[in-house]
């Protein structure tokens, strides 16, 4: 394989006494759609800005296509970015906005015009070239920002929550289009989002950020089905995974006073763990952990049941007709194959 399109090694960034990034190592393959996913303040945007050259890392190196760009200015890296606010130039027309990167690179006028038309056509705003950004809808502004980013055919495409200012319906549409555009241009894209649905649906691979560290890198399937830490497990999924403290011993787990037989976990020995289980793997059964139904929430075909197990809240996603009555006493079973076991102390997956 050729050199990674993006390679971050040991990136540390401090803002005064606060460590924003505590050693980031990442590799993005050429042509890959790679997301940086994490809650706000986890360092994903800082990482993107360091990639863009808008901020400089205190330690570590940034390589693009194998070339060390750590100390290069933004304009000297072959990188384009779409900002959350779009950052369109309000005093220029849409056409002038799109042409700006070419103008700054000294592209001849004739070439510039055809490139602007092509980029605008790709995002279907070629009929709006004479307008000013202030006269565009939010979706059109977003497209204009995209066109400005793709017009000069950068090696790397950076997107900082580009969909967050769109309404829900437009967001889903644009998401699909964004992916199609990236595929068509065959350009490497690094995408920052706190929206897991976006990250899971768009990415070839993604990195989950927590507190200035990358806690897991993998395909959306890997990250979703095998979260590396209890924090990732609690962050992903809607609603997120249920997490229950348990005591593991001799192939059984003690959960809120009830013993569950889990022979497959015998190898883990006796230890304190956190059991994770997705709502869809929780079932109401004749036997199992006693629970009280606190609420039932219908969502079209499915419904969510909030259960209290001891002092814990467990959410179950079910479908079918038998909906348990609120405040009724039930027993729940956790699908054995769907259990995630995390060490209680370290939070790491076992």
């Amino acid at each position: 394989m050729s050199a990674a399109a993006v390679s971050l090694a040991g990136i540390v960034k401090r803002h005064g006494a606060v460590t924003a990034l505590a050693g980031i190592d990442l590799e993005v393959a050429p042509g890959e759609f790679f997301s940086l996913l994490g809650p706000s303040g986890s360092g994903k945007t800082t990482t993107l800005r360091i990639l863009a050259g808008l901020e400089h890392a205190d330690e570590g190196t940034v390589r693009l296509d194998g070339k060390d760009v750590t100390s290069l200015e933004p304009g000297a890296r072959d990188v384009a970015m779409v900002f959350q606010s779009y950052a369109l130039y309000p005093h220029m027309t849409v056409g002038e906005n799109i042409a700006f990167p070419l103008r700054m690179s000294g592209v001849p006028r004739g070439e510039m015009e055809s490139a602007v038309r092509e980029a605008a056509a790709r995002v279907r705003i070629d009929h709006l070239l004479e307008r000013r950004p202030g006269q565009l809808s939010g979706g059109q502004q977003q497209r204009c920002a995209l066109a400005r980013a793709i017009v000069r055919k950068p090696a790397l495409f950076l997107l900082d929550e580009p969909l967050s200012n769109l309404d829900a319906k437009l967001r889903v549409e644009t998401r699909v289009e964004l992916k199609r555009l990236q595929r068509a241009l065959n350009v490497t894209a690094v995408y920052v989002t706190h929206d897991q649905e976006e990250a899971l649906s768009l990415s070839d691979r993604l990195a989950v950020f927590m507190d200035g560290r990358v806690v897991q890198v993998g395909t959306p399937e890997e990250v979703f089905s095998r979260p590396a830490t209890v924090d990732v497990a609690g962050f992903l999924g809607n609603p997120p995974m249920n997490l229950l403290p348990a005591w593991l011993e001799d192939g059984s787990a003690l959960v809120e006073g009830t013993r569950l037989d889990l022979p497959s976990l015998r190898a883990l020995g006796a230890r304190e763990v956190t059991l994770g289980i997705r709502p869809s793997a929780v079932r109401i059964a004749a036997e199992g952990v006693p629970a009280t139904v606190t609420m039932c929430e219908a969502l079209g075909e499915d419904f969510f049941v909030d259960l209290s197990v001891g002092e814990r809240l467990v959410r179950a996603k079910m479908n079918g007709r038998e909906r348990p009555a609120e405040r009724s006493q039930v027993r729940i079973q956790l699908e054995q194959g769907a259990l995630h076991i995390f060490d209680r102390q370290t939070g790491l997956r076992l």
């Binding site: 130039y89 700006f100 700054m104």
Partner: protein
Amino acid sequence: MKASVLRSSVLLAFAVAMMVVWVFPVAWGLVTSLKTERDVLAYPPTVVFDPTAANYQDVFSGSASIVPNLISSLIVSGLTTALTMLFAIPAAYALARLDLPWKRGAGFWVLATQMLPPVGLVIPYFLLLRGVGWTDTYQGLVLVYLTFALPFAIWLLVSYFEEIPREMEEAALLDRAGRLRALWHVVLPQAKGGIAVTVIFVFLNSWNEFLFAVVLGGNTVRTVTVAMFNFISLEQTQWARLAAAAMVGMAPVIALGLIAQKHIVKGLTVGAVKGGGRR
């Protein structure tokens, strides 16, 4: 309904009163400039007289002409404004944008120079300029005006630059503009209104300045404000000519004010809102 009528009539009365206070001296000056010296001194003052353009002829030509002084004022104010903007724009941009460790302190000292009463500086400046042989020179007076105009302009411009989203410049940097071209193509066009306001304020302040012009100027550099003052002498005060000169000297100020009215009002509100914490 009744209350609102009362309210608006009170406001109207107040506005009229203010107008009278502000407009009367100008109107009286205009009337005086069209009188003969004799009519000016008539007591009780008369509003019925034969208007004459003689005072205007006198201030435009002949021994009492203020045309050379208008040119002097134009050179001083023009140079002051141009140099102020040349230095203030980059300085204000740096203060607004760069994360410089001494930014706060620098911002304060820029403003602190405005806190000194100007009259306390007249003598020191005179001695300094005399020391380098720059009294009664354009460079001397412009240099002194810069010490007042620059801090003021920087302070005003910083608030305009701070209003422009950082991301816009970052986008320009990524679009390969570099700092200077980002400033030129992206920041300055958006700060146009603020720059216009600053230009006007700086120009008007130096155009209307009298104290330093009279002390640090002389026969070579005599601005229009000083020339007007010279119509008042021990022997006599030429009120009509003085009034005519005042009208002429005021004309560029009024013209600029009318041109820039829109910007000025907006500029004042920006200063008011953002300056609350800054002052």
